[in-house]
Symmetry: C2
């Protein structure tokens, strides 16, 4: 999305978090409330407002598809994507806005305007209109009128740069009683890796990257992804919509790693990156430093940063399990077909100086 | 509703909390989920399921009309009504039920049955169908399938004993921006006390009782009340539907006392009862003892019991303020018309042995 040491990204972040807001409208579509923000310089951002404090976890009886969106997850996801070296997410900045003067005063549409009110606790609130959580009992409220939000830079218009939407092959069922095919079919990966666009080019490894990225932040809500049409199948999946990440700091949702586990496949550079976080400087430290510049710092509740480091170890452990199966003889591994290593990837293990924790390097024949 | 030392009430309470459940259906109408329970002996109860723990307060930005219902508020309200000597509420018992075997297994209607599911945390949940909070994201969940509920005895069928529904004169607006007439009109009480059924008989004092009762438990949701038609205007308002009481333990909502404050009117026996709780044995102690027999004891979070005692003092203070205005000369009190004592009631003050806290007795010409 942008080069490694891009100087434009910090400028975009700064502008989104400080430029004067010229107009505020509700984003059409989607289930939860989002606002389209236009700045005085013509830039646009997608704002997700804060609903709960940083400590609020996903409710234990809530599904991934009923979970509330978290503005700070959007911010943290941008930083994580950048630190992992993917750079496939648009810049997201935090900002504290005044609901009355910066939002309400810039709203022109009456259907949004009429949803603003003052709550019993004298806070300024609004709820907008959407299919989920857009009513008086689920209002967005300031304190008393200051509100945190995430501001994500807009992608170029589809008129200028067309995008294609793809169904994620490891998409969940989005149903409280049904399972997706990949949850029950041990040979699901074989199916996918033989289908275009996953049977050639970079796409399959991009899906593995997405799996690592989502696992690290506990995001179960990756139902679709988009690519830029211009580059055909050589383009990367855009990392978009992370409002439901960082919901459970004390639970590691292993099923998010299903693509990695079922395909035993991972991009060499990604594995190297993870190894570096494991062996050299922790991912949480990079995150803390990177997010320190955000206006809403600290962006993440500390247990989520602990979780990220723990999950780096878990990804590496899953890769190790793939390796140990791959080093078994064919007859021993006969009933382990679902964990069979990818024929496209091999791993070299190097116990090195890690003590109990093995250290990995990967050599892959796929393009990275 | 029942005599003072009725022996049948404890039996009803016991039956509702232990008898075998024969059928479970959803209660039609109303905004939040309620179940109609039929027992093996033919009795019926209205069940309100637990949503949150005892410590959960009304959300600061929630209005009285968006607040969740609390099963324990229903139980506590029955005990409070009985202890205050009103006995105008139907018996309500707590009960711990097994969602799977005692509820789901007794459901026959498919529209309710199909809302049962197992949550991500492996708890058994259901949400029913209603206008508020009846969806997957607001499900009622067990732990893992044990669920607390309030079970309120059913009133006799309207075929047998007809009831009339009245709009409460101090009803709130049920709108987040509108105020009710009584909130802005300083002479509102004059208007009401000259209208039937409030201009004669017991009804006006019953409304004052209701105000005390609701204030003690912080219930702002008294929009209507019902009476038994059989007794005409000599009948009492039935104390029904207290699911939104006991929501804020650290806030005393003085506006619930508006009828008392605006009319300077209170039933003598009620004032005597409050004085007894203030001077002799605290209301909270009576409540603790009475609720101790309930299966779900402790029914209330301790701060709510502290609040009840504090609010007894506040009611007495408001009566004292009425008195001090009434002892002013007519010209001094000219612009205090909204706090003018009722022409139907006089209060005798007796400083007694209370020290700083004056002790009251009331003498009223109204029937009690």
């Amino acid at each position: 999305m942008y080069p490694k040491n891009d100087t434009y990204v910090p400028l975009i972040l700064k502008n989104m978090s400080s430029a004067r807001i010229l107009s505020v409208a509700q984003k059409e579509g989607g289930t939860q409330l989002k606002l389209v923000i236009e700045y005085s310089n013509g830039d646009k951002a997608l704002m997700k407002p804060m609903r709960f404090t940083r400590e609020q976890q996903t409710l234990p009886n809530h599904f991934y598809f009923t979970d509330y969106e978290r503005h700070n997850a959007e911010i943290a996801a941008f930083h994580l994507d950048r630190i992992l070296g993917f750079r496939r997410a648009m810049p997201v900045s935090g900002r504290l806005v005044n609901i009355t003067s910066e939002l309400m005063a810039q709203v022109t549409a009456s259907d949004l305007l009429k949803t603003f009110f003052v709550s019993p606790d004298k806070n300024v609130c609004f709820h907008g209109q959407c299919s989920y959580y857009c009513d008086t009992s689920h209002a967005i409220c300031g304190n008393p009128d200051m509100l945190e939000g995430s501001f994500a830079a807009y992608l170029p218009s589809q008129d200028v740069l067309e995008r294609k939407t793809w169904r994620h092959p490891w998409r969940r069922s989005y149903h409280k009683r049904r399972k997706a095919k990949w949850e029950t079919d041990p040979n699901y990966c074989e199916l996918i890796r033989n289908l275009p666009p996953y049977n050639s080019g970079r796409r399959m490894l991009d899906i593995m990257d997405l799996s690592v990225f989502d696992f690290l932040m506990g995001n179960m809500d990756r139902h679709h992804y988009e690519t830029f049409t211009l580059f055909g199948n050589d383009s990367f999946p855009i990392h978009l919509d992370h409002g439901r990440a960082f919901g459970k700091a004390f639970h590691d949702e292993m099923s998010i790693l299903a693509p990695i586990i079922q395909c035993c496949h991972i991009r060499k550079s990604t594995l190297e990156t993870l190894l570096r976080f494991h062996n050299v400087k922790k991912l949480s430290e990079h995150m803390r430093e990177s997010m320190n510049d955000d206006q809403l710092s600290p962006v993440l509740w500390e247990p989520h940063l602990t979780a990220i480091d723990r999950r780096v170890g878990l990804v590496l452990q899953k890769v190790r399990e793939c390796l140990s199966v791959s080093t078994m003889s064919g007859e021993d591994a006969a009933d382990e077909s679902h964990a069979r290593p990818s024929t496209n990837a091999t791993f070299d293990i190097d116990m090195g100086d890690l003590g109990k924790e093995p250290k990995y390097t990967a050599r892959s024949r796929e393009q990275t």
